[in-house]
């Protein structure tokens, strides 16, 4: 069997070889090509890619339209900063605390949200995120109010200082890779299939013996944990967090990233985050009409390619094959 027939026979192997060859280039080339600002932008993209990936689990696979995912991102960031600075412990402990806080919050908030479907879920998730946003603004002694809270210094990792932009970049890349590998595993697992089942037909799932609320809650908690991780890494990156991280607008942006790239596919959210933040960085240096551009991206995305860029590409390649 020649290499070519091996790859046509095993598309998965082809994909794997592709990734194995390209990955080192993809990860290392920004280090070589970019410095300072450029590297920071890519690091930020990867941080938001993680939270977009986490939302994709419940939105793309679980069919839960959350308009409050910033809650877990923001909680992760706040808890990381607060634990690290107030208690004078290692920021690594802060990061762990951030993930734990977001997870616990996701279990509690999820317990309310998963009882409702459709618009109810949407409203409930929005209400909780707004509640936390109000809390962050109001509880000044703890959170610093609308000014936010800062003072987090990036820690060392095995002797490498994360304060170095290269190290921070590699650390974030590792987190994103970890999140993606984990997601890939979950999607292909019995649980991943069950989750898709609840998206497709809750009634049927119950009739064949699945407790759909528990399944939805488990996915919601998992998603919250990963969003918390992303928030924690964001706290490392920025050293600072403000109520904006918990806001309505941030929830909407995360949602847009998932939809833009393509929900229900592993890499869609990463693509969406990359595209969105790249455009943002380019546009905001040239014009003050950033909001107008974002709005147009939203509208264009919904009107032209509601399945996202990956979905659009798939459709194109399928119609190409037919010809």
């Amino acid at each position: 069997m020649t290499t070519a027939t091996f790859f046509t026979k095993w598309p998965a192997a082809r994909g794997f070889a592709f990734v194995a060859v390209l990955l080192p280039f993809v990860v290392l080339s920004p280090l070589a090509l970019l410095s300072g600002y450029g590297l920071d932008v890519i690091t930020e993209i990867m941080i938001f890619a993680i939270v977009a990936v986490s939302l994709n689990l419940i939105l793309g696979y679980g069919g839960m339209v959350s308009f409050g995912h910033a809650a877990f991102f923001g909680l992760g960031a706040y808890a990381t900063v607060l634990i690290s600075t107030r208690y004078d412990v290692s920021p690594w402990l802060g990061l762990a605390g951030g993930v734990a806080t977001a997870t616990v919050a996701a279990v509690v908030i999820g317990a309310f949200c998963v009882r409702l479907g459709g618009v109810g879920f949407f409203m409930m998730s929005l209400a909780f995120a707004q509640l936390l946003n109000s809390g962050a603004i109001k509880w000044r002694p703890l959170t610093g109010g609308s000014d936010g809270v800062g003072g987090l210094l990036r820690p060392d990792l095995f002797g490498f200082d994360l304060a170095d932009a290269d190290v921070m970049y590699l650390f974030t890349a590792a987190c994103l890779a970890g999140a993606l590998l984990f997601m890939r595993m979950v999607i292909a697992s019995p649980f991943g299939h069950v989750l898709v089942g609840t998206r497709e037909s809750s009634l049927r799932m119950q009739a064949i013996g699945y407790q759909t609320r528990h399944i939805r809650l488990a996915a919601f908690a998992l998603s919250g944990a990963i969003a918390g991780l992303s928030g924690g890494v964001y706290a490392f990156y920025n050293g600072f967090v403000s109520p904006d991280a918990l806001s309505f607008g941030t929830s909407g942006m995360i949602l847009l990233m998932v939809i833009l790239g393509g929900k229900g596919s592993l890499l869609g959210p990463v693509l969406g985050a990359g595209l969105f933040l790249s455009v943002k960085n380019v546009v905001s240096t040239h014009t003050s009409h950033w909001l107008l551009i974002v709005g147009c991206i939203f509208v264009a995305c919904v009107m032209v390619c509601p399945e996202g860029i990956l979905g659009f590409a798939k459709k194109l390649s399928r119609s190409g094959e037919r010809r």
Partner: protein, 245 residues
């Protein structure tokens, strides 16, 4: 196996189940018939746990399940089909059936292994596919199937959960004569470890499968017994002749 005692349910002033009592014995092929509006599907929904009765009790294997949720009833060995299509549209026939098998024999919360590794579940799914002769369409997405095929997939998904009691809501409605004949064959071939409670309109199907018939009329049981006896019952004849289908 399955026993209903005085099960009653009303929507407002409309009584849909009026003190329904019935017994499904092990291995029985029990069929519920009755004119439209007799409350047959509502009764199945109460047994399956999609609706809860206002009064009365439901027992499965001697254990009361009246207040149990639908998933817990399913886990206790009760499986059902639906008349309206509630299958997983985006998934293939095989995946639909596999989810059924996994519900009974798989690890729902296992996130760390591929579903391909669970050979027991895969085997059960394949078995159910074979039982229903669905091999030729196993890889097709359910959203693209014909109505006749959908009815078969309904039964396959229910069978994959290894039920002891199977509730069938009009399994042959909308099928062509040849599809109906196939469905009858398939139902005949099911092992007697499975008791069946079935709603059916088609009298040919009823008399070829049923060994016990219960007649429901405006939510009330007006006759119950062996097929011949029920067919000869004067009240049943009155209902069916007075209100032909």
């Amino acid at each position: 196996m399955l026993r209903l005692e005085n099960v009653s349910k009303a929507f407002g002033s409309l009584v849909v189940s009026n003190a329904v009592t019935l017994d499904v014995t092990p291995g029985q092929r029990h069929t519920i018939i009755g004119p439209n509006g007799a409350g047959k599907t509502t009764l199945i929904n109460q047994i399956g746990g999609q609706l809860s009765p206002d009064r009365g009790k439901i027992f499965l294997h001697g254990r009361e399940i009246t207040r149990l949720s639908a998933p817990l009833r399913a886990q206790a060995g009760l499986a059902r089909t639906f008349q309206k299509n509630t299958l997983f549209q985006a998934l293939s026939v095989f995946e639909n059936v596999r989810l059924g098998a996994q519900a009974a024999h798989g690890r729902t919360y296992d996130m760390f292994r591929s579903w391909r590794n669970d050979t027991r579940v895969l085997g059960l799914a394949e078995q159910a596919i074979e039982q229903m002769n669905l091999g030729r369409i196993a890889a097709q997405p359910v959203g693209k199937l014909s109505y006749g095929d959908l009815r078969q997939v309904e039964v396959a998904v229910a069978l994959a959960t290894s039920p002891t009691v199977l509730l069938l809501d009009e399994p042959t409605s909308g099928l062509s004569p040849s599809e109906t004949a196939r469905m009858i064959d398939v139902l005949h071939a099911l092992p007697r470890e499975i008791s069946i409670l079935m709603i059916e309109h088609d009298m040919e199907v009823v008399f070829s499968i049923a060994d016990h018939i219960t007649v429901l009329y405006y939510g009330e049981v007006i006759a119950s017994g062996a097929p011949r006896a029920v067919a000869d019952d004067p009240r049943v004849q009155e209902v069916y002749l007075g209100a032909p289908q």
